[in-house]
């Protein structure tokens, strides 16, 4: 599989079809992976592919304006590119998508060293990217079994709680937030040049690490991704405080699905949820 990735990357650079290939290489610990930015043919052998290639690389597309980019892309990462294309943040002709039929990535935070598939991979199907220029398939025997799991299991559990219990639950979780904004920075869809959290005139919410400030930040972040989040799970992985951010994202995803029959990131031709209007849209929540 990695040979196919390397061959394609080499061809793309040689023919000058792209200026740079974004992929993965070994991290300094020799176990994990780190994003790799290959612009010389001689560096192609650094590329790797394994279960530790956890990052959603589409976050780096904005770092190379005006350049043609080849990018190694898992199924979920391609969905965020779909949203970026819908929102006119990318030009399709500027990117060459080396699609990977991913068989799941490793849960790095799991203790004990045993390799387990990440929680976010369990409800993922299909693992084939919705858009690609070339598709590289995982050998069949290596494919992880797809579990028939309810993707909203943990959201449904939270929904049964009372308002007071929910508040208590999130207050506890958010109390550990250190406002490092890793959740925002790792997110390919958080691309605002100036985030609401950084505005000071007016300051929309408190910068203090406090109940109020932390609630405002985390809820704002999630709401700005309503109808856009494709659940790559990078925010939750990046969070050093272990806040279950995917539960908030998934709750909004579920609501959007139920209210508007809308799913983000599956179709580039589809209009973004918030810039489309249908007279049949439900409005009973407007009071």
């Amino acid at each position: 599989m990695i040979d196919q990735i390397k061959t394609k990357a080499k061809e793309l650079l040689k023919t000058k079809k792209v200026d740079i290939v974004i992929g993965y290489k070994k991290a300094s610990d020799r176990i994990g992976a780190i994003p790799a930015f290959i612009d010389k043919e001689g560096d192609i052998d650094k590329l790797i592919w394994d279960g530790y290639c956890v990052y959603n690389l589409s976050n780096y597309l904005k770092d190379f304006p005006g350049k043609k980019i080849g990018i190694v892309t898992k199924g979920c990462d391609a969905k965020s590119m779909t949203v970026l294309l819908q929102e006119n943040q990318l030009k399709r002709e500027d990117i060459f998508i080396i699609g990977i039929e991913c068989s799941g990535i490793v849960d790095e935070k799991r203790k004990g060293g045993d390799i387990a598939y990440d929680e976010r991979c369990k409800g993922c199907k299909p693992a084939t990217p919705p858009i690609y220029d070339v598709l590289i398939k995982e050998e069949e025997k290596k494919q992880a079994p797809r579990l028939e799991q309810d993707p909203y299991e943990s959201v449904r559990k939270l929904e049964t709680k009372s308002i007071e219990e929910k508040f208590k639950f999130w207050q506890d979780e958010f109390s550990r937030c250190i406002r490092c904004y890793a959740c925002r920075q790792i997110c390919p869809l958080c691309y605002c040049p100036r985030c609401v959290a950084e505005q000071t005139q007016p300051a929309w919410f408190s910068k203090a690490v406090s109940v109020e400030g932390n609630f405002s930040w985390n809820v704002n972040r999630a709401m700005h991704l309503a109808g856009r989040c494709i659940d790559c799970g990078e925010c939750e992985r990046a969070c050093p405080a272990g806040i279950p951010l995917r539960d908030i994202n998934k709750k909004i995803e579920k609501d959007v699905k139920e209210l508007f029959s809308y799913e983000a990131g599956v179709d580039t031709e589809q209009k973004p949820l918030f810039s489309s209007f249908d007279k049949n849209d439900p409005e009973d929540f407007i009071k």
Partner: protein, 323 residues
């Protein structure tokens, strides 16, 4: 001065101290990791070998703290009152305590930071020696060790079922000197031997001047996502922002990795890309601070490596800098 104590001795002593002291120590939160928190009951303490995610710094230089407010006349300003409650921190690691010793050089020297100094003065730091440094730890390359006592009042070592406590300062001898029993000469620890537990060893150049303009910084900073994990979790990073909210002035953590950190009112940003920002972080730690205060502004705790969302390894980057 070293003494032998049992776990029960320690729990009993802390329970007694809880009457007059605020006790801060590591707590294990299920599935989340280890966090330093105020302890209500000595039994809540986690004294295992896993590292806390945040360093003990947050109890000395708080993530956000009120420093100034409008006085009653609504015109003049007054300092925000600070707590003078006596405090004991237990279980801080040698690297984190060394971080405090480095912050002392900055906040308690030519410039006196009343808030930081107050927090330092009212606190006794009892450290816990590291028996299991992990693959991100590199304290021995930063003049530290798993049993270093710099910045601490006392240090405890796991030993059999109990601990050996080394009392460093008079403050610690006064409060903790009565617990346990005297240690025999052959029971004393060989602290030098503990250095070998740390496997990651790097070299740091005397000066990075020569490589300031190198493309190396562009290359190594590319994976950086410009978040605040490395700076906020660093035991020595101390940059802050001042924010006015509701007639009060607050200072809160800020970091050189954020694009906004150096954004000027004119719209000019002297560190416009990740290259300049990441280089600043490396230079502040391994060049500027060393020139001003004689030591690296890094204690080798490995937090920025362990928790970096994209596995950037500052130790490796400094080690391989093209000097």
């Amino acid at each position: 001065m070293q003494r032998l104590i049992t776990k029960q001795d320690l729990v009993n002593k802390l329970t007694e101290l809880l009457k007059d002291f605020e006790v801060v120590g590591p707590k294990e939160l299920s599935n989340k990791g280890i966090f330093y928190q105020v302890i209500e009951d000595a039994k809540e303490l986690y004294l295992g070998q896993d590292f806390a995610i945040e360093p003990i710094k947050k109890f000395f230089l708080e993530p956000s703290s009120w420093i100034l407010r409008h006085a009653k006349d609504d015109v003049s300003l007054e300092s925000f009152p600070q707590s003078d409650k006596k405090r004991i921190v237990i279980g801080a690691r040698p690297c984190e305590a060394k971080g405090l010793a480095l912050l002392d050089k900055l906040f308690d020297s030519e410039y006196k930071d009343d808030f930081y100094i107050n927090n330092r003065k009212r606190t006794i730091v009892v450290g816990l020696a590291c028996a299991k440094p992990d693959m991100s730890c590199f304290c021995t390359s930063m003049q530290g060790s798993p049993a270093e006592t710099s910045g601490m009042d006392a240090l405890i070592f796991e030993s059999g079922d109990g601990f050996i406590i080394e009392l460093v300062t008079d403050k610690a001898k006064h409060i903790l000197g009565s617990i346990g029993e005297d240690i025999k000469e052959d029971q004393k620890l060989n602290k030098d031997k503990m250095k070998a537990l740390v496997k990651k060893v790097i070299k740091t150049p005397e000066s990075l001047d020569k490589v300031f303009e190198s493309d190396y910084w562009d290359e190594v900073s590319r994976p950086c996502i410009s978040c605040g994990v490395c700076t906020f979790l660093c035991p020595t990073c101390h940059c802050f922002d001042l924010v006015d909210e509701e007639k009060k002035r607050m200072r809160c953590y800020d970091g050189c990795s954020f694009p906004d950190f150096t954004l000027e009112a004119s719209g000019v940003n002297p560190r416009p890309t990740k290259k300049e920002r990441y280089r600043q972080r490396v230079f502040h730690k391994f060049d500027y601070f060393k020139k001003n205060f004689g030591e690296n502004l890094c204690v080798g705790c490995g937090r920025c490596i362990r928790h970096c969302p994209v596995k950037i390894d500052i130790a490796d980057i400094v080690d391989k800098a093209p000097i």
